[in-house]
């Protein structure tokens, strides 16, 4: 899979007179990228910049050369987003209809939608959930359905915002396994450092800036040391 380049150029995000991110410049090319940092450090804001859910106050974000401020709709087709709480991400009352929702927004016809829904459910081994009512799903099942809804849209990048926070160990390991198998680029914001073991690159965000940027092991060591200080 040809992965799009993501580029942040001197990005500052200001919310209520506070700089949540300060003059961040990055180029993201790797397949597995982690973002770690303390609560309120700016991790979620950084991740939301990538598909235009948050726009920079200063600077610009480019996905495959497209500016998120001008091409958010197009970019969102290519950059999926899995939120921390899957319950609030599932829009439709039935699982299969929910997975089809994004495809409908893309303008796909009913036959193609059905085929993609079935294919995605099978890919994630959750075909048995197709006809379930969304509110009857367990936390782990909800997270898999939220992931399926994003994968069905076939984005080349998927951003995960603390995807395992609400999962027990079994579901967390299952989710981690599925993410590892994805051909897409995965950008994972997390407090769960074990997830990052095999990642190509990890960013440590502190006080709105990228304090460390490098391979997983030294990044985790840096963050652990910073947390203890």
């Amino acid at each position: 899979m040809n992965l799009p380049q993501i580029r942040l150029e001197n990005v500052t995000v200001t919310v209520e007179n506070r700089d949540v991110l300060k003059n961040v410049s990055l180029t993201l090319d790797e397949r597995r990228i982690g973002i770690i940092g303390a609560n309120g450090a700016g991790k979620s804001t950084l991740s939301r910049l990538i598909n235009g859910l948050v726009l920079p106050t200063q600077g610009a974000v480019y996905v495959d050369g497209l500016n998120t401020a001008k091409h958010a709709k197009k970019i969102r087709r290519d950059v999926g987003f899995v939120f921390q709480n899957p319950a609030n991400q599932i829009i439709m009352p039935l699982v299969a209809d929910d997975i089809a929702f994004g495809l409908k927004n893309m303008g796909l016809g009913a036959k193609e939608r059905d085929a993609r829904v079935q294919q995605t459910l099978a890919q994630l081994n959750i075909a048995h959930l197709a006809d379930r009512e969304s509110h009857t799903l367990s936390g782990g099942e909800q997270q898999m359905v939220a992931l399926a809804a994003v994968i069905a849209m076939q984005p080349r990048t998927i951003v995960f915002d603390e995807p395992t926070t609400m999962l027990d160990l079994r579901n967390r390991l299952g989710f981690q396994r599925e993410v590892a198998r994805l051909p897409q680029r995965a950008i994972v914001v997390t407090h769960d450092l074990e997830i990052l073991e095999d990642f190509d690159r990890v960013l440590v965000v502190t006080d709105g800036q990228v304090a460390f940027d490098g391979p997983a092991d030294p990044a985790i060591a840096h963050y652990t040391q910073w947390s203890r200080a």
């Binding site: 598909n51 859910l53 709709k73 969102r76 087709r77 999926g80 987003f81 939120f83 709480n85 319950a87 609030n88 991400q89 599932i90 829009i91 439709m92 009352p93 039935l94 299969a96 209809d97 089809a100 929702f101 994004g102 409908k104 927004n105 893309m106 303008g107 197709a130 006809d131 009512e133 969304s134 509110h135 809804a149 994003v150 849209m153």
Partner: protein
């Protein structure tokens, strides 16, 4: 009632035909007072439901509730008018409900929403957006159980603090959490490519 996946002959009939027929039959039923005709229609509605491949577990609850309601209606009408009149009314109501179950349990939620959008399309001339109304409708159905869960959690937490019966102590956190859900869901709609300006839906 939300339809689970159904593969019966009735699921292959377009939603507009099913709901259109239901509308016509529901009006016709109240114009018929002949016992034999009503009994034939009742038998037909039972046959339709029986061949609709609906799981018994899906029907048990609604049929139990319907039986109780029909019994109350029968007694009330029987005491007020005549027992024959009550029997006719209950037969009509029962037939109608069986047909309505057959239609709703063999029509996917998406097909119902599409039909709703088509039926509501004249509202566009009044400035309303049928696609948005349909989405709001489906989200209401989706999030009612979610809000019920949040309510239970808040009530439990306030009970633990000895404030379980204080309406303010329950309603304020409930509203705040509902607003947070609304915020996150709006963000998810954006992330999943929903275009609120679309007039026709997609």
């Amino acid at each position: 009632m939300i339809a689970a996946k159904n593969t019966s002959w009735l699921s292959r009939v377009p939603a507009s035909w099913k709901f259109g027929s239901l509308l016509v039959i529901s009006i016709a039923l109240y114009l018929i007072s002949s016992w034999p005709v009503l009994l034939v229609l009742l038998a037909a509605s039972i046959a339709i439901l029986a061949t609709a491949r609906v799981r018994l577990s899906q029907l048990r609850g609604p049929l139990t509730a319907l039986s109780i309601i029909l019994a109350i209606v029968f007694i009330a009408l029987g005491l007020q008018t005549s027992w024959l009149n009550a029997a006719v009314s209950v037969t009509r109501l029962f037939t109608l409900c069986l047909l309505a179950y057959s239609v709703s349990l063999t029509t996917s939620f998406n097909a119902m929403l599409d039909l709703f959008q088509r039926v509501a399309s004249p509202l566009r001339h009044l400035g309303a957006n049928p696609a948005q109304i349909a989405l709001a409708l489906s989200m209401a159905i989706r999030f009612i159980p979610e809000l019920r869960r949040v309510y239970s959690e808040v009530r439990e937490a306030q009970h633990a603090r000895g404030l379980g019966n204080n309406p303010l102590a329950v309603s304020v956190p409930l509203v705040i959490r509902a607003l947070r859900i609304a915020d996150e869901t709006a963000e998810a709609l954006d992330a999943r490519g929903y275009d609120s300006s679309s007039v026709h839906g997609k």
